[in-house]
Symmetry: none
Subunit: 426 residues, 2 copies
């Protein structure tokens, strides 16, 4: 079976002037890669009719599949659709009723009038096949070309450029591709770790990695907020790929210990949800330096209302005292960023909400600290049925990244304390 080649093209002046970073291309190439399709090139071009037609024709000449995103909006600077009509030899636009119904729905939901330019979104060149866009007004268009045009069968997909819409429509595009092209699957499994550096991790699992069969490949994907993701892949995988990968994964797990938090692609906050959901146990949070980020992460998990009671962001010291009941002396004697304050905050919010567990943060996210703790320090407190404890973490990034890292460290510390408690009562 020969390798299917794809090109990913992003269209939009905002990319070329560097105003936005293109994240669609990597999202699309990852999805193609999972189906064994190789991305040969990525190209970004301006909202220019001649550039669009010239580039897409060239990419279609050299690839089996071309996926372009962007330039499908309703305003004058969005010209991709007209360029595609020309490229595919269409002289007529036709209405797609299903997409038009979605245009009405979306605008009504936003309380907006449906204008002519909105309805035009549901009109497509008669040379394309429509894949419905459920999250936006512009449908996805698939143009199939036979050998007479580019010397080989080729399909061009035009997707909207808003990443939220691209992401949602991608599975439908991949299914469409699977129906047109057959490729050998790649089989992946992912493990999530937190709290160990890539280099230390690679040393810890060196022997296991050296013993992997030659058709399996391990990738390390480090991320400061989610930890190091390990992905084990088999290319051109046969029927037994799933079993063979699972066996390797089961051998790897004990080597990872507490660092391992998910053997699927879950997040730290999702893992905490898994530990609490359906157990009748609840959670609350008290945040100072993280300013709401921890509560935000926890509540992005569907079903979090079943265990998350609420949180207090106590930016001002008076809120720490008045709402959370942290004694003024505790702050004065230990400093606002201290083990004692983190623990008092955790106990305060646990009492206030009546939750089973609570997590609290106090730290210096900015470029300054005080005479007790330097910039980039956070104290995390966790309170639960077995008592209260705290731990200090230290980072050296800017305000925004410190807040994100503090939050990830706090969630992981909370996860470890819940695990410890679960072991103690078993």
């Amino acid at each position: 079976m020969s390798i299917i080649k794809a090109s990913v093209c992003t269209i939009g002046d905002e990319i070329l002037i560097g105003q936005i970073v293109d994240t669609n291309s990597s999202m699309i190439s990852r999805a193609l890669g999972e189906r064994g399709i190789k991305t040969s090139r990525m190209v970004s071009i301006a909202d220019s009719r001649s550039d669009i037609i010239g580039t897409l024709s060239n990419e279609l000449n050299n690839n089996d599949i071309v996926i372009c995103t962007g330039g499908l909006g309703p305003t004058k600077d969005d010209i991709t659709k007209d360029a595609l009509a020309e490229l595919s030899g269409s002289h007529k636009y036709v209405r797609n009723d299903e997409q038009e119904a979605i245009v009405h729905q979306i605008l009504h939901a936003r309380g907006l009038d449906v204008l002519d330019i909105n309805l035009r979104q549901a009109m497509v060149p008669d040379t394309c096949e429509v894949i419905i866009n459920h999250r936006g007004t512009a449908p996805i268009m698939a143009f199939c070309f036979d050998k007479s045009r580019f010397g080989h069968d080729a399909v061009l997909y035009a997707m909207p450029g808003v990443p939220y819409e691209t992401e949602a429509a991608l599975p439908d595009v991949i299914s469409h591709i699977s129906r047109h092209f057959s490729s050998e699957p790649i089989f992946h499994r992912t493990l999530m770790t937190y709290g160990i550096a890539e280099s230390a991790l690679s040393k810890q699992i060196e022997q296991w990695e050296d013993g992997l069969p030659s058709d399996m490949h391990l990738a390390y994907l480090p991320n400061p907020l989610t930890g190091v993701r390990l992905r084990l892949s088999v290319y051109g995988a046969g029927d037994d790929a799933q079993r063979r990968v699972s066996e390797q994964i089961e051998a790897l797990k004990p080597l990872l210990g507490d660092y391992l938090y998910s053997d699927s692609d879950d997040t730290l906050e999702g893992t905490i949800g898994r530990l609490l959901r359906g157990t009748g146990r609840t959670l609350s949070a008290a945040e100072s330096c993280t300013g709401g980020e921890i509560a935000h992460l926890i509540t992005t998990v569907p079903g979090s209302s079943g265990y998350f009671l609420g949180s207090v962001t106590s930016y001002a010291p008076e809120v720490k005292q008045k709402v959370l009941g942290v004694p003024a002396e505790t702050i004065e004697n230990n400093g606002i960023v201290s083990s004692a304050v983190a623990e008092a905050m955790a106990e305060g919010v646990r009492k206030l909400t009546g939750s089973t567990f609570s997590v609290a943060t106090t730290g210096w996210a900015d470029a300054y600290g005080d005479d007790r703790e330097p910039a980039g320090t956070v104290w995390v407190g966790v309170s639960g049925p077995a008592g209260t404890c705290s731990r200090r973490f230290q980072y050296k990034a800017d305000r925004k990244r410190n807040i994100e890292r503090f939050s990830a460290s706090a969630l992981n510390f909370l996860r470890l304390q819940i695990l410890k408690y679960d072991l103690s009562v078993k």
Copy 2:
């Protein structure tokens, strides 16, 4: 003076498989744009000799400047330098002493031995001019081609792919470009709007847009979280470009009314900071469905500790009652997602923290609602010295995006109420 055209090429398998997102291209195109050089294309290609030579030749055919990054490392998969030697007709490598000294320095600082493959980094094809890389071992190479090769003068720059090194070397590359090409600058101005859809906005300013001089271009950049960004540009701008753009911007502003929140590139939370900072006025928040996202956004603004006192995330109804003092009857009579509850939450947290203003949210972020309000509904309450008010917003996304949109709508509603109050006391 004609416009100088550039192409930015990134080289590396890790980009094409979607393992990393390319941020170099946007960084480079922004730097070029500031010098009035237009990026016509961005291309990402694999570590393949034929792809590198083919693509770079093609880009040099169509552009004055080509900047490529990546593939200059010491390992076997980095083959850019050999490909460039072939492309430029070099048969000989020469040592650059200054770069070799840096190779020694860098490896010594890391406590590593200097190997042959490291020293090879300081060897370059004799067809190039070297720009020293102070942060890494691989020098930047500049290849100048005269008209005989591509029909016009063209320069190819090869830069390292590590963003930290690319960023540091970029000013030297830009100076080199400035010595070879003279270009007229591009002048941009950005306006931020919220609360009006792209299509409605384009209708509202149609007459103004139609009257723009032919050398000015308006781009609409919609984003569900920050609203529609409007960017007005003049290419090949003369000395009066800044004045001419400013005149157009001043004519546009009144047409945008309250939708306009920033005439620079600020965020909604940054704009609120601007309204409060240094005025002695303070802010608090009470969040239900947004789960901490509003507090998080507010506290990402540097200096927010000067006006933000804190917030309560009241996920459980008991927290709404106990901490925020929302009467049980208010919830029972009106529903948990209601104007009355949003207003009571805003008043509750304002009283609790003693802040000047407060903002509160209660809504259904998930796929379900109740018999009073459907999924995707949020009620936002704002309380301040002039009283309390509320407004309803409706979206139709998934949980995560609903939370983000609810938060943006709440921040904008808060902004409008602060503005209204400021007008009333003037």
